[in-house]
Symmetry: C2
Subunit: 237 residues, 2 copies
Amino acid sequence: MTFQKLHTPSLKELFVKELETRILSGRLAIGEKLPPERELASSMEVSRAVINGGITELAQKGFLLIKPRVGTFVADYRKEGTLETLISIMNYNGGTLKNTEISSILEVRLALDSLALRLGIPKMSEADIAELSKITESIRQAADIPEACRQAFAFQHQLAFLSGNTLIPLIFKSFEVPVATLWERFCQLYGIPALYENTASLLKYIKQRDTNGAIAFLESYLEDTISGNRPIYYENQ
Amino acid sequence: MTFQKLHTPSLKELFVKELETRILSGRLAIGEKLPPERELASSMEVSRAVINGGITELAQKGFLLIKPRVGTFVADYRKEGTLETLISIMNYNGGTLKNTEISSILEVRLALDSLALRLGIPKMSEADIAELSKITESIRQAADIPEACRQAFAFQHQLAFLSGNTLIPLIFKSFEVPVATLWERFCQLYGIPALYENTASLLKYIKQRDTNGAIAFLESYLEDTISGNRPIYYENQ
DNA sequence: TGTTTTTTCTGGTTATACCAGTTTTAATCT
DNA sequence: AGATTAAAACTGGTATAACCAGAAAAAACA
């Protein structure tokens, strides 16, 4: 069991979390006007700078709408929300994802990974493939689950990068946190070797420049994961 | 011709833009350490609050990495970047997109819209379709190009929402700005009626519950747009 | 030379004050 | 009394100065 460094939250982080909780739980209704910064600062006993910074951050995340010299209002995060919002929602639920969200992530991942494979496989150089092999090996040698998940993400990110499509890596990066959570769950259920095996299988298809095979493999593998079945590829070891 | 309200940039916005420009142009190299906040504040003749707020915002965008009590460093936005970063890059290029980015957006849009159609068409209610029809009509009646693009985005967003996949609408929302830019370009080239015709055609397939037809239409339509050909559907009016 | 202590530097936070639009209230005029 | 106008209150944006505590570098010490 590994432990990561304890992180003392800053006042701003505490404030942001407090407001996120209130908004996501509905205690702060959508459209409602927040108390003025000065009032929040005095009642929560922090400086106005903390409140101002926190409100700015929450506005960026799509939770608040700042109207200068008028007031700050709770935004409709269901309509204005971005991927940042998803991460906040996840944190609100104690770092867990609901089944609908798990399915959603896997569906999107399948669609985008397929696209990355279709675009990338024909144009990959031997050096590119060697890089992917190196990352795959890192998964096998990972000391703990978080490290293995980091490497699995690196593989996916590199694959997205090699597609030549400039958007796919950005999208994956945008929801790195939820995806990493999924992989941690996967590893806790099936172990790191299963994660390695799946990645290695995919790499095999890539090496053979077998685009359709790679996509078909990804489909069956992810669909098994969606439906909750144990991936069969683990037994092939 | 419509004019929108002039917006006086705040000092923080000016600072953020200045640093984004320096980073994207390469004048601030990746990994480089920024001067301390106090120094930046005095040399740029603004308060430390402006610098602190701007740096926080840039860190959220993936341009900077703040190490408390150590310093602030230029992050590798090509690896750490999110969709927020893309918007900044676009603004840096004067609101335009390079051809590679246009292709990237259309490819991703095709992949995700196809997924949304495949998931959504079987489960849509008549009320859902009526809502889509209403938005389509709004495109036709739009007074100017920005309004038409807003409605086109609303159509896509609603379609993503109706898929039942909770992630797709968030992704689209995340890169609303670049996509809107693309549509503006489309409308300037082919006019609002072409945008309406395309949307109406897609809606027709949806009404007929013809998933494969809808996807096939989307493919040909977007691929024509990728390759730069004039969409043929305009002539079908 | 290697360790310990001290100093310096850094972002985080506090406190107070002023600015300039916005909104509300009060005063003024018809 | 009702409409118009002027003053006041309110709000987020910004400026300034100061202190805190952790990290890094320098100095002192063994």
